[in-house]
């Protein structure tokens, strides 16, 4: 096995060091490890090229002499092989190191560790203590983050089963445009192909494997989409007026756009994004929250309270 590894490394070194394209014959004659019949060598070389490519090393094919249509030649361009971040300072290396450390034990942990080794190989010492920030850790997003980011970069179409709020499973076809994390969860935003609108999905609610395929040819990433606003649709015109006891119901207060004092109670105005989840949050606070408006929300609450009394009485 280590013969093959030696050969791959020798091939990389030879193709990196050469100034001009090397022909196959030159490679077979000079690079250590190519043995056997011409046919065997050819097969070895083809496999080696594929292997190096899968490691991210690009082999350029060019002609030895452009005026003659002779044997193709090969080389690896230094600038493609190397990590080219331009001039980089010790502070920047520190920032990147902290960025890599955020992945400890999460999805990209191994790759981040590799990136860190490459960064440290640049030879510029990092001084992470000079950065006035403690690293938060990123949450594990499971096995799908890499697939999703690749699909974003290539406008691929993702197909997956998604758990809806009634535990129903529905197949979604989405061209992803953004990946974000918030409150410990990973979210994927994209254009839902069925309705041609942007929708946001929580990655851990995807059930089973995600399929990736070529996306629609004429796909254009919607302009001006900001993933950080995907969670706070402020376009709603429906508001609820809810009385909350003083010093209580912080989670409701956090959603309020305005608060008015009523003595022992405060009245908060909350945009309604989802009636069911707001109803559930009001119920969570029991007698410390009382809905004044709208009637729709009151009716829903009364329905649930009726059931609660009946089921537990």
């Amino acid at each position: 096995m280590s013969r093959k590894i030696e050969r791959l490394i020798n091939l990389t070194i030879a193709l990196l060091a050469t100034k001009r394209y090397l022909t196959k014959t030159e490679i077979f004659n000079s690079v250590d490890g190519y043995e056997g019949t011409t046919e065997t060598k050819e097969r070895m070389f083809e496999r080696d090229k594929d292997d190096l490519r899968s490691l991210g090393i690009e082999i350029e094919v060019g002609s030895f002499d452009p005026l003659f249509n002779d044997e193709a030649g090969y080389k690896i361009k230094q600038e493609k092989y190397q990590f080219e971040l331009g001039d980089i300072s010790s502070t920047e290396v520190s920032l990147l190191s902290l960025a890599a450390e955020a992945w400890q034990e999460a999805s990209f942990g191994d790759v981040a560790q590799r990136a860190l080794v490459k960064l440290r190989s640049i030879g510029i010492p990092s001084d992470e203590l000079s950065i006035p920030a403690s690293v938060h850790k990123l949450n594990d997003g499971g096995q799908d983050l890499s697939l999703i980011t690749k699909a974003i970069a290539h406008n691929q179409l993702l197909a997956f089963n998604y758990l809806d709020s009634h535990l129903g499973i529905k197949m979604r076809s989405v061209v992803p445009i953004a990946l974000s994390t918030r409150n410990g969860f990973w979210y994927l935003s994209g254009v839902d192909q069925e309705i041609q609108e942007i929708r946001t999905f929580r990655v851990d609610r995807i059930s089973g494997a995600i399929g990736a395929s070529a996306g629609p040819k004429d796909f254009q990433t919607p302009a001006g989409f900001d993933p950080s606003t995907a969670f706070s649709e402020s376009s709603t015109h429906d508001f609820a007026l809810i009385d909350v006891r003083v010093g209580k119901a912080s989670s409701l207060r956090a959603l309020a756009i305005s608060t008015q004092s009523l003595g022992e109670w405060d009245q908060v105005k909350i945009p309604i994004l989802n009636l069911d989840s707001l109803c559930s949050l009001v119920l969570w606070h029991g007698p410390d929250a009382f809905v004044q408006e709208p009637a729709e929300l009151r009716d829903l609450l009364v329905e649930h309270l009726d059931a609660l009394v009946k089921n537990h009485g």
Binding site: L96, G142, L305, N311, H312
Partner: protein, 305 residues
């Protein structure tokens, strides 16, 4: 998730990355090098032995890399061709871009200089791997809070925190001695000894609203006080995703019954209330009763108008 290479390719990649690392860390010990590359020392010695056979065509001592590691410390010479780190892969770039974005949210706005550098680095990396700028990571933890926690853990000091308890729906001020940060489900908790409660407690870090480092007595009772836990039986009437996530149940059907353990009667009361008609608490009977009473009180109030 990360593409796994076959063992020989994995090793080829490691050997290629070893050269620039050793070049920039001449004289590193074999043990440390093995640790950096996450392999044992035997594997590292075998890697270095293989590398020692590689070089430019010709393969005489003039062209081979000059590696020294018999002494337990590693040096490399004559390896200029491979001495620069390899370009980053797509996944590595994504990891760094997302990590930088998270870091940005942890840096104070006053440090505009650092924020600007983060943006530039992020753009350069995205350019290297052809990534559209559509990845974002934010942290919900207040940076003053996380700074105080890190400082307290490092210096073995105490903290005074104001904490919002979701179950009791109260903001309380507590004097705690932090022990460690633990991750459960999707949240970070600060495992601590709470002097206010005279017991061990876990505080969800994103619910700590303020934190100040302070000296506290470090004496912690040897054995934690036993908390009494309640076993509850819940019956599913309408299976919904909300119920599945709230009670951490995966298989839910109509009439499924499951048990859950909790230290907090308030948690179970509030969880059942918030679930409305979707579930029914079967036991314990005293909590059943208090739910019925609470729901009736609220119902009466709505029916007045």
């Amino acid at each position: 998730m990360v593409k796994k290479f076959s063992a020989p390719l994995e090793r080829t990649a490691r050997l290629l990355d070893l050269v620039p690392y050793i070049s920039s860390h001449q004289g590193i010990s074999l043990a440390e090098l093995a640790k950096v590359f996450n392999v044992d020392q035997g594997q590292m010695t075998s890697d270095l032995t293989t590398l020692w056979m590689c070089g430019l065509p010709g393969y005489t001592p003039l062209e081979l890399m000059d590696l020294n590691f018999e002494s337990g410390f590693v040096t490399i010479h004559n390896a200029e061709t491979l001495s620069k780190p390899r370009s980053i892969t797509f996944d590595e770039g994504v990891a760094l871009v997302l990590g930088l974005d998270l870091l940005r949210s942890a840096i104070s706005p006053e440090r505009g200089d650092l924020l600007e550098r983060i943006d530039l680095l992020s753009q350069r990396l995205a350019g290297l791997i052809n990534l559209p700028s559509a990845l974002s990571a934010t942290s919900v933890v207040n940076q003053d809070v996380s700074g105080a926690i890190t400082a307290a853990l490092k210096s073995r000091m105490g903290l005074e925190i104001s904490y919002h308890s979701l179950y009791r729906d109260e903001l309380s001020t507590r004097s705690i001695f932090p022990i460690e940060i633990v991750k459960t489900d999707s949240h970070l908790y600060l495992s601590s000894y709470c002097h206010t409660a005279s017991d061990f407690r876990q505080f969800r870090i994103d619910r700590i609203q303020t934190a100040t480092v302070q000296a506290v007595q470090q004496e912690i009772p040897k054995s934690p006080i036993q908390q009494s836990s309640h076993t509850c039986t819940v019956k599913v009437l309408t299976p919904t995703r909300e119920i599945a996530e709230r009670f951490k149940q995966s298989e839910l059907h109509v009439n499924t019954e499951f048990n859950c353990e909790t230290y907090s009667t308030q948690w179970i009361e509030r969880s059942i209330m918030a679930s409305g008609r979707a579930v029914c608490l079967q036991s314990p009977p005293d909590i059943r009763k208090s739910i019925a009473v609470m729901a009736q009180t609220m119902l009466d109030r709505y029916k007045v108008r």
